[in-house]
């Protein structure tokens, strides 16, 4: 799992720089619960290019998960628009949304969200079944994906029989099962210890570099700095700052302070 060694020479993001896969226009989300109104997102305009690795940073409660849910078509915004590959998500029917979630986007959650009664392999092959892949082909592809995350020999284990890091790796394999072009991760290392978190980030990094998957990762893990192309800070539902990594590394000390 040593992605420390120099990976790919040409960067996907550089060759296909201008292709925008995700665009949000004046994105707003207001939660109302028992009369209490929370403005989780207050007008976000963002653009994410194909092949980019984006880290979304911000303190807890700043709106990272809300942004993630809107962009992934998992919840509907109060106002504003989300375009995935220039398709307005709000215009899609329920069936088309299912198609989008099945093949265009992979999701990785902080709580892993594996199906408890399925084995690792079944968890990975379920989205393939939804996509209409036959069981035999699904098994082969599922084993390959488990191999990539280093869990080939644990294919028959159920989630409760695995550690957090292993569960998250199964979740990554599952998110890749229909080869999506976008991978959305909501605090993928939030529930893991430092070393395991590092392994997860390495896998994500390799997927980005070797397969050109666009990765959007909400996190407050400072190690993300080494991996991502761009960083986006959100605070109180607004974009505070967007910066390329090379602009940030110089001031790394101050960022670390900010995170503490």
């Amino acid at each position: 799992m040593s992605s420390e060694t120099q990976v790919s020479t040409t960067r996907q993001a550089d060759t296909d720089l201008k292709r925008v896969v995700i665009r949000t226009v004046n994105l707003r989300k207001i939660y109302e619960k028992k009369g209490v109104i929370t403005e989780a997102l207050r007008g976000l305009d963002t653009e994410i290019n194909a092949g980019e690795f984006i880290a979304i940073m911000g303190p807890s409660g700043s709106g990272k998960s809300t942004y993630f849910n809107m962009v992934g078509g998992l919840d509907s915004p109060t106002s504003g628009r989300v375009f995935i590959d220039e398709v307005d998500v709000a215009q899609l029917t329920a069936v088309e949304l299912a198609f989008l979630r099945c093949r265009k986007i992979g999701y990785i959650f902080q709580q892993f969200n594996l199906i408890q009664y399925m084995t690792a392999l079944e968890n990975v092959t379920t989205p393939m079944a939804f996509a209409g892949v036959g069981p035999d082909e699904a098994r082969v592809r599922g084993m390959d994906l488990l191999d990539i995350v280093g869990l080939k020999d644990r294919w028959s284990h159920r989630p409760i029989e695995m550690s957090g890091g292993q569960q998250q790796r199964v979740a990554i394999a599952r998110s890749m099962s229909n080869l999506p072009m976008i991978l959305l991760c909501d605090e993928p290392t939030g529930n893991l210890d430092l070393k395991t978190g590092r392994e997860i980030l390495d896998i994500l990094f390799r997927l980005n570099k070797e397969r050109g998957v666009t990765i959007i990762c909400a996190t407050h893990d400072p190690r993300m700095l080494d991996l991502c192309d761009r960083l986006m800070w959100i605070r109180d539902g607004l974009i505070e700052r967007v910066a390329r990594r090379d602009e940030v590394t110089i001031e790394v000390g101050s960022i670390n302070n900010e995170l503490e």
Binding site: L74, E96, L100, A129, F130
Partner: protein, 491 residues
């Protein structure tokens, strides 16, 4: 600019869905078992009530039929010794189906031609309908309508136009619904006056005359005793006298019963003798004293063949030297067993006589159905609501709403089927064993309602499946319709 072409998502095959559903049910075995148990208990409760209702009904019917048969000797004893009333005659003719010997008997006694008998029969059916109508009326209404006229006297009364006027007024005032309308009733009253009454009287007269011819045949006995010979010359002579319906088959059955009655009387009378009581008490041993010997105890003791043989021997030898009239030990045991069965029959008739129990049963079935609805929906709701996160996750992976609904539908049906099957079986066992202790095994065995029971089983299982399916699919439908994150937020 290239756009993703968003196509339709394929539907997962039912086979795969069932596999996944079964997988999940197995994994959550404890939860599933709890749900199945709740469904089973609810269905068992309902099935229990249903079983008791259907067996009570079947036993009531069987008991009435059998006791009616056993009254055959009594019925004939009465018919052969007492003149009938007009109403009884009408009812007998009306209740006899075409070709019944009772009809020929009526024709012979009343000297009616076959055509006239047919008309008389139709009129008797009419008459009985009206008689039933008048019997069912509240006393005050009846009194206003026909004053003190009873039974067939109302037909006599309603031939008069003055009585008809009063009748019309009261019908209008109390809004009485006369079957077929008042005009038809008056028309019948006229027919009654012109032919039916005369025919009825003729039959009764013939009947009375026939009874008179029987007196010398009795040779001083009362009719009930004489009927012991019903399967011999005496019976044939009775039929000769005009009682056409007293055919060979009836005679045999009546003689049999009359003999049985005599034999039972012989055994039961025997404990009037102090010696018999003493012997029985010492044979039973222990602390039994002669005063303890009751009829029930006597019959219970006599179900044992050896005891029966001993007792019969004792009665026929010195000092009592009673005449047992050809009674054998085997017959005594048979009687003793039959006596127990009679007890069960009488018991069953008494227990099922209460007509209000029908309404109570309906009420109980409704309540048990309500228990099922509440219990099953609660169990299913709980097992679905704790899986909203799973529903949301499946939606994130690209599941269609229909897949999620099918998944939960299959699972609910499976749980409902297993719970329903176990429950209806358990309910039947409980219900029938309760009936067993109430009515006794022989009675239940004789009248076991196989058909209604099977239908009840199917309905109970069906109720389990349908209720579970509805209660499982509804919340899963609600959850599946939500956006994944909204479903995930529901706790």
């Amino acid at each position: 600019m290239k756009t993703i072409d968003v196509k339709n998502q394929p539907t997962l095959s039912l086979n795969r869905t069932f596999e996944i559903s079964l997988n999940g049910t197995r994994y959550r075995l404890f939860r599933s078992v709890v749900t199945v148990v709740v469904i089973a208990v609810a269905i068992a409760f309902m099935m229990n009530v249903v079983c008791e209702a259907i067996s009570t009904q079947a036993i009531a019917r069987a008991a009435r039929e059998r006791t009616a048969q056993q009254r055959l000797a009594n019925v004939w004893s009465a018919r052969l010794s007492m003149a009938a009333t007009p109403e009884a005659t009408l009812r007998e003719v009306a209740g006899a189906p075409d070709g019944d010997p009772l009809l020929q008997e009526a024709a012979k006694l009343g000297n009616l031609t076959p055509a006239r008998l047919q008309t008389y029969h139709d009129n008797a059916v009419q008459a009985v309908r009206y008689l039933d109508f008048f019997t069912a009326l509240p006393y005050a209404t009846r009194r206003s309508l026909v004053h003190t006229a009873e039974s067939t006297a109302v037909f006599d009364l309603l031939q008069q136009s003055k009585a008809q006027t009063t009748f019309n007024d009261v019908v209008a005032k109390y809004k009485v619904r006369v079957p077929g309308g008042t005009d038809a009733l008056y028309a019948f009253a006229t027919v009654w006056g012109t032919t039916v009454k005369g025919d009825t009287d003729a039959i009764i007269a013939g009947h009375t005359a026939a009874i008179a011819t029987l007196t010398p045949l009795l040779k001083g006995r009362v009719m009930h005793e004489a009927l012991v010979d019903a399967d011999k010359d005496f019976g044939a002579q009775v039929q000769q006298a005009g009682f056409v319906a007293f055919d060979a088959k009836t005679r045999a059955a009546v003689a049999d019963q009359a003999r049985q009655t005599m034999q039972i009387a012989f055994i039961e009378d025997s404990i009037q003798h102090m010696e018999a009581r003493q012997q029985l008490a010492s044979r039973l041993g222990g602390s039994t004293i002669p005063g303890d010997i009751t009829l029930k105890l006597l019959w219970d003791t006599l179900t044992d063949r050896d005891t029966a043989s001993w007792y019969l021997g004792f009665l026929t030898s010195a000092p009592l030297k009673l005449d047992a009239g050809g009674l054998t030990a085997a017959r005594v045991t048979e009687l003793a067993r039959g006596k127990n069965e009679m007890g069960a029959l009488d018991n069953a008739v008494r227990l099922t006589a209460d007509t209000s129990s029908n309404a109570r049963m309906t009420w109980l079935v409704l309540v048990s159905l309500l228990v099922c609805v509440v219990g099953i929906s609660n169990a299913m709701l709980m097992s679905v609501t704790e899986r909203f996160r799973e529903i949301a996750t499946l939606k994130c992976l690209g599941a269609l709403d229909t897949f999620i609904m099918t998944l939960f539908l299959l699972e609910a049906c499976l749980l409902g089927l297993v719970g329903g099957a176990i429950g209806s079986l358990a309910g039947s066992i409980i219900g029938f064993s309760r009936m067993l202790s109430t009515f006794g095994g022989r009675m239940l065995f004789l009248a076991f309602p196989v058909g209604p029971w099977l239908i009840g089983m199917l309905l109970a299982i069906g109720a389990g499946v349908v209720l579970a399916a509805l209660a499982g699919v509804y919340p899963s439908y609600m959850a599946a319709r939500l956006a994944p994150m909204e479903a995930m937020r529901i706790e």
